[in-house]
């Protein structure tokens, strides 16, 4: 926040409110800035610089370099032709008077404008240039009300809606009040400090003075400065306790926008709560209380019995605040310990049977039957890809246990910890560690932004089986998402499924067969789906292709620094039965397209495929080639073909592309050296047959006609 420049006008607008939710303030600041810029410019008083700031109790705009007056506006409107506007005596006709009236100018002021089409009557209107302060009187209320919030409220009889009640307004232009009324209030120059630390209002004259007064009244206006104060404090305590600290961005933003003068403090809790699964105290601290947990410096998740939090009051008795916060945390942790002890009276295994009472979906039966299907499907998929019986056994055990934590008190209390609680309880019950991990991993990736698929092989099969079962069920029950309606978050499920299926473990998976197995398991267990296999397959596969596109777009934006939808088309345009294969092709293609040879290669390929008549059929007769260029191309073709088909078989797609690129020069030489369309039919067809063989090589990889490329070499 720089000191304001004296050049031009300085406008300070402070909207004093009751506490606006911290969650929505960052976006409100961006909107406010953007809207202020637009509204001021449209009113012809553009500011040189606009900045916005916020605390829980105020939204503030500083606009500098505002002109004293509006810039002049001259508008010219062309009317009827001169010949129609004036009679022979030069007097204005009805056409002229009507036009003048419509434009709001006296008829005498009309001028003549020469155009290419002849002379026309023209009305020139100069709009008066009004002082900025008079414009702002109307503009500022409009600006305030233009800030839209997702949830708005009324609080008095004025019919105004805002995020929370507005309680005061400061509007000062160059030290003087811009007077207006809004929400039953008059704008003025009296601002307020910290709710508790400063009681009296103070007068605002200039930006610099305002900042100083706020500081004196215990308000740090700039969120960036509050953030620095908080970060510094957090790091200081972390160092003091030799703990490590992962500062969560949302948590930090929340602390910044919940305080006017932040003070970082440290509290502690009884080490006995460290016996809880660490995610539990972590969730209580972060999500319920907004505290920053301190971790042991090692890379694991183990906690120190301390936490950091941000207070909004500086006091000489911080112990009161600390012990209060400790008490709240203790109560919450005690709650958690209560659930933990209750839950431990029953094993996950014992709970599985009770899943019969939990509805998965009214049309798709209970969670118990879902678990049974998932268990069978996972085992089928694993066996089909050659997994041993020991692995299948683990998978079946993990499937049997993976939904049971839904019935624990802990998950009812902390729904975000589903899976995690299952994993921890499974470990405590002595389950195999991979089985335990798979229980939590079968929810991976947890969201569309989560880059982490399951790590264990058991987790991978389990999540694929679980998601496929869900998708098949909902698609089968005619509950597929349409438009913006996706109440069961099936797109997210699909996106996660696609992401996991790109793992090497699924290179042999046939989507068609997997869907078939999933559908059969529904009918085997007595759930009749509305749609049959072919209908489900026909809608589910395009759905997954779309998810694949979404996923690839995100992934390549992040990792390969650029996403080319045309290249995705090359590999996705035809139906595929396995997701990993087109993915590997695309990865190879994305890296190959950076080579200088790529575009010329595509150009010659396109030329070759264009020249082929659509239903051409022919066989190459090598002995009939006469010209050097065609003989050489043929020889190269034979070598490359062998290489390419070998590489494709082994999914060595980069190698295959490289081999294809070897054909570029021979094809070029071929086009330059021979006339493909020779008059002799036998010669012509032999050459076309050769080109056809070559294009087939390309097409085996993908549809290269979809690559967008500038064809400079076209003749």
């Amino acid at each position: 926040m720089k000191k304001s420049t004296r050049a031009g006008g300085e406008l300070l607008l402070e909207i004093g409110t009751e506490e606006i939710p911290s969650r929505i303030l960052p976006q409100a600041l961006i909107d406010l800035k953007e809207k202020a810029g637009r509204i001021f410019s449209e009113a012809r008083i553009p500011a040189e610089r606009i900045e916005t700031f916020a605390t829980p109790r105020r939204l503030v705009i500083l606009a500098t370099g505002i002109p004293q007056k509006q810039s002049a506006l001259v508008t010219e409107v062309t009317g009827p032709p001169k010949s129609a506007a004036y009679d022979l005596e030069g007097k204005p006709t009805a056409a002229a008077t009507g036009f003048a009236k419509a434009q709001g100018v006296p008829v005498e002021s009309l001028t003549i404008k020469k155009t290419e089409k002849g002379d026309y009557v023209c009305a020139v209107r100069k709009q008066p240039s009004v002082p900025a302060v008079r414009i702002l009187k109307d503009l500022l209320p409009e600006l305030v009300l233009s800030v839209g919030f997702k949830k708005m409220m009324r609080w008095n009889g004025e019919g105004i809606r805002f995020a929370r009640p507005i309680r005061w307004i400061v509007a000062v232009l160059n030290g003087r009040v811009v007077p207006f009324r809004l929400a039953g209030l008059s704008s003025g120059n009296r601002s307020r400090g910290h709710r508790f630390m400063a009681s009296r209002p103070f007068t605002v004259k200039s930006w610099d003075g305002y900042l100083k007064s706020l500081r004196r009244h215990h308000v740090i206006l700039d969120p960036a400065e509050r953030e620095r104060m908080i970060t510094d404090g957090l790091l200081r305590y972390a160092k003091e306790k030799r703990g490590s600290l992962k500062v969560d961005a949302d948590l930090l933003s929340q602390a910044v926008f919940l305080t006017e003068e932040p003070v970082v403090m440290m509290g502690g809790f009884d080490a006995k709560y460290l016996a809880l699964p660490p995610e539990v105290p972590m969730t209580v601290m972060k999500e319920h209380q907004g505290y920053f947990p301190l971790l042991k410096p090692a890379m694991d998740k183990s906690l120190l019995p301390h936490f950091l939090f941000v207070s909004n009051v500086k006091t000489r008795h911080p112990d009161l605040i600390r012990s209060g916060n400790e008490r709240v945390l203790r109560a919450r942790l005690e709650d958690a310990r209560f659930y933990f002890e209750q839950d431990r009276k029953q094993t996950l295994k014992e709970r599985t049977g009770q899943l019969k009472g939990l509805v998965f979906h009214e049309k798709l039966g209970s969670v118990f039957t879902k678990m049974e299907r998932v268990q069978k499907l996972a085992a089928t998929l694993a066996r089909e890809s050659g997994r041993g019986e020991q692995e299948v056994g683990r998978l079946e055990q993990a499937a049997f246990l993976c939904k049971s934590d839904l019935l624990t008190g802990m998950v009812r209390e902390f729904p975000g910890l589903q899976g995690v609680i299952g994993r921890e309880y499974a470990k405590l019950e002595g389950e195999d560690s991979e089985v335990a991990d798979a229980i939590s991993e079968h929810y991976f990736p947890r969201s569309a932004d989560d880059p982490h698929p399951p790590r264990t092989i058991t987790g991978k099969y389990l999540t694929v089986a679980d998601r496929l079962d869900t998708l098949v069920g909902f698609f089968g029950a005619d509950l597929a998402p349409s438009g913006s309606v996706d109440p069961y978050a099936l797109r997210r499920q699909g996106l996660g499924l696609v992401q996991v299926l790109l793992d090497k473990a699924f290179e042999g998976l046939s989507l068609r067969r997997a869907i078939e197995s999933a559908v059969r398991l529904y009918s085997d267990r007595g759930v009749s789906l509305k749609k049959d296999l072919s209908a489900i397959d026909a809608s589910l596969r395009p759905f997954l292709t779309q998810r694949m596109e979404t996923y690839l777009e995100r992934r390549f934006q992040d990792i390969h620094g650029g996403y080319r939808v045309d290249l995705v088309d090359v590999v996705l345009c035809r139906s595929f039965d396995n997701l990993l294969d087109p993915y590997l092709r695309l990865v190879a293609l994305m890296s190959f397209q950076k080579q200088p040879d790529f575009d010329p290669l595509i150009v010659v390929f396109k030329r070759a495929s264009r020249i082929l008549p659509p239903d051409f059929k022919g066989t190459v007769r090598p002995e009939a080639f006469k010209e050097t260029a065609e003989k050489e191309l043929y020889r190269n073709y034979i070598d490359v073909e062998k290489q390419v088909s070998d590489d494709m078989q082994k999914r060595n797609y980069s190698e295959a592309l490289w081999a294809l690129s070897l054909l570029r020069r021979p094809i070029d030489a071929f086009f330059n050296g021979v006339m493909v369309m020779d008059e002799d039919r036998a010669v012509r067809e032999n050459r076309l047959a050769l080109l056809q063989g070559i294009t087939k090589l390309f097409t085996a990889f993908g549809d290269f006609t979809r690559v967008a490329v500038e064809e400079k070499n076209k003749q």
Binding site: F309, S311, V313, V328, E334
Partner: protein
């Protein structure tokens, strides 16, 4: 005015007619009362020091919402010895919605040193009816405040008087009602009673008796909560039952509005005018 608790089982002080019905329509209203509150699913057999299926709220409802309501509220905390200069008092976003009452509002949970002590809500809609004027509701959690003031960690250790603790008064309540709510109610019977009250509520509305009708609506809400605690409401059935209660609440609200209108909105007239008439 200081009102008295309502004598039916309610899930929140908001259900009291002094809030739910009085916030409707144009008539001003300012009331405060203690409301014993029942939330069957929150029962913990008296084993959890912070959760109760029966507890007390102190409810304040102000219509229209005063401009300085936050200051007045903070003064009330000062009166309890909770001064914002030494305690960290925060207004943290918490939007309130009651699906069964067809009601929503925006506001905060007020936190004292991290502990939620009050729900502070500007009502926007009740019974599906947009409110004008807007009322503000303050709901103080009495046990929480008392535990803080007395410095005890278990609600059952609160001193109710010099000789009697909260546990002496309510520990058995928690044990027995938890058992009742979770294990011993008869879902079939609860459903039948629910249906009876629902039918009766509709009949009473037709007879233009919105106040008794609303009692039946409160009953259905509590029966729904009991069924819920018993785990007898399937996911699929849940929304449907909520809608049934909501529908009753809406009809009661509409009937009440009409009733007040027919009476000529007595509270809009000054006190003098009313005593004269």
């Amino acid at each position: 005015m200081i009102h008295q608790p309502y004598d039916l089982e309610v899930g929140a002080g908001t259900f009291h007619p002094a809030t739910f019905l009085r916030v409707l329509g144009p008539e001003p209203w300012k009331a405060a009362y203690v409301q014993p509150t029942r939330r069957p699913t929150d029962g913990r057999y008296g084993e959890n020091p912070n959760r109760l299926q029966h507890y007390y709220q102190f409810q304040v409802i102000l219509k229209p919402s005063p401009e300085d309501i936050q200051d007045r509220y903070l003064d009330s905390l000062k009166g309890l010895g909770m001064d914002g200069r030494v305690h960290d008092i925060r207004f943290v976003e918490d939007d309130w919605e009651s699906p069964t009452l067809g009601a929503w509002g925006l506001g905060w949970e007020v936190r004292l040193n991290g502990m939620e002590i009050t729900q502070f809500t500007y009502f926007q809609e009740v019974g599906g009816i947009e409110l004008s004027p807007v009322s503000v509701e303050l709901t103080y959690g009495l046990e929480r405040l008392a535990m803080y003031l007395q410095g005890v960690d278990s609600v059952f250790d609160l001193k109710w008087s010099d000789t009697v603790t909260y546990g002496d008064v309510h520990h058995q309540t928690e044990i027995q009602f938890s058992k009742h709510n979770f294990e011993r109610t008869d879902p079939k019977a609860l459903r039948e009673i629910f249906n009876l009250y629902e039918t009766q509520c509709r009949e009473l509305i037709k007879m233009d008796l919105p106040l008794p009708a609303y009692d039946d609506c409160i009953k259905t809400s509590h029966l729904f909560n009991l069924l819920d605690a018993r785990g007898a409401i399937s996911v699929a059935e849940r929304a449907g039952m909520i809608l049934r209660v909501r529908h009753l609440a809406k009809q009661c609200a509409e009937a009440y509005c009409k009733n007040r209108e027919n009476l000529g909105h007595p509270l809009l007239r000054s006190r003098k005018a009313r005593t004269r008439s």
